[in-house]
Symmetry: C2
């Protein structure tokens, strides 16, 4: 049995294993992102990182576990960053901007892992999804708390459902995130600004109250 958890105890900084495991994760993320979980083969992933199919199992116990790790990898740092954003003492608008920067920026950073998390995580067994589910709930609750804060400060309309808006914001971000991955020439900061403007103020001209209700 392969004890892939073994690391060289006398690692220089970080073990060779850990370094190459990261390469494996990135390769898996790229291939899963391109072909989907079931469409990707272990052979694809292995050749992406320059090793043979069988050797991949030195780094993963199974294909499904590879997907699990990619999803967790793509989501983990991202949620913890969300936490620190929410903890800060900033006006509502600034927080939203930070959140959008973090969310959309993640796609440009380790684009593939986060995309895989969004598109492929449901193919994991319930058991394997536990941690991911927890992270997802955490994230949505954090976003809802920011909105609730906005309501209490009188900045955000009382009529909005924090749950609904949180979901909608996540939807917009994931949709644009997918575009950012697909089209590298798309400008990240422009996208962030437009999302922010749209989420905060909608599309209706504020001054004109042309409510010609039929």
């Amino acid at each position: 049995m392969i004890t892939s958890a073994n690391k060289n105890t006398l690692s220089p900084e970080v073990s060779k294993y850990a370094r190459k495991k990261l390469v494996a994760l990135e390769a898996a993320a790229k291939i899963f992102g391109e072909k989907g979980f079931h469409g990707a083969t272990t052979s694809d992933i292995a050749s992406e990182m320059g090793i043979k199919q069988g050797s991949l199992y030195y780094y993963f116990n199974s294909k499904e576990q590879a997907l699990q790790e990619v999803c967790e990898f793509g989501f983990e740092t991202y949620v913890s960053r969300m936490k620190s954003i929410c903890a800060k003492n900033q006006p509502f608008e600034a927080k939203i901007l930070s959140i959008l920067s973090s969310h959309l920026g993640s796609y440009r950073g380790k684009s593939n892992a986060l995309k895989v998390h969004n598109d492929q995580r449901l193919y994991l067994s319930v058991e394997r999804r536990k941690k991911i589910k927890k992270l997802g709930s955490q994230y949505r609750e954090l976003l809802e708390s920011v909105l609730q804060e906005g309501i209490e400060q009188g900045v955000v309309k009382q009529s909005v459902s924090t749950h609904f808006v949180a979901y909608s914001i996540i939807g917009i971000c994931n949709s644009w995130g997918a575009n950012l991955v697909r089209e590298p020439e798309l400008d990240l900061y422009d996208t962030i600004d437009q999302c922010s403007e749209f989420i905060l103020y909608g599309v209706i001209e504020a001054s004109n109250e042309s409510s010609n209700n039929t």
Copy 2:
């Protein structure tokens, strides 16, 4: 060779073939929706409609063609409905509401096909995606034209990019659409209303101009 295009020339109203072909499309949509294109097997689809795996090829030439037909099926009527909405002479807000009703309502109607279109169409070859691509562009252009109309009427802010907002609206709709499919107890009309409010006016309280810009 199976001439699956044959219909009984003396069909009663609509041929038995056409009727069961629809059953096949719905079964394929359901299974593709649950397991994804590569995760689904022809055996799954066949047993969903109560026939054996091999018999499925009486209705489809290949698994990939089944996916193509499901995607087109899910998108076609939907785009044509969008056309008639855009042609109507209605105020901007009413049009947006109609569009949201149509888009989100579609998920409740033939929920699976539209979901499959969104999630799985990229696994089709470029050739097979041609028609779908065209429909997608048509849809987005129609939505952009509605926004442009709104700008010209002074209802929509001049600063918004119609392209960006169109994409964002589609993102929100697809995100909520997926929720509507996943959670049947979610109220359709409530979702439509909240989406509309959010898209039109954003989350910020209109009266309060608390722009404490740092």
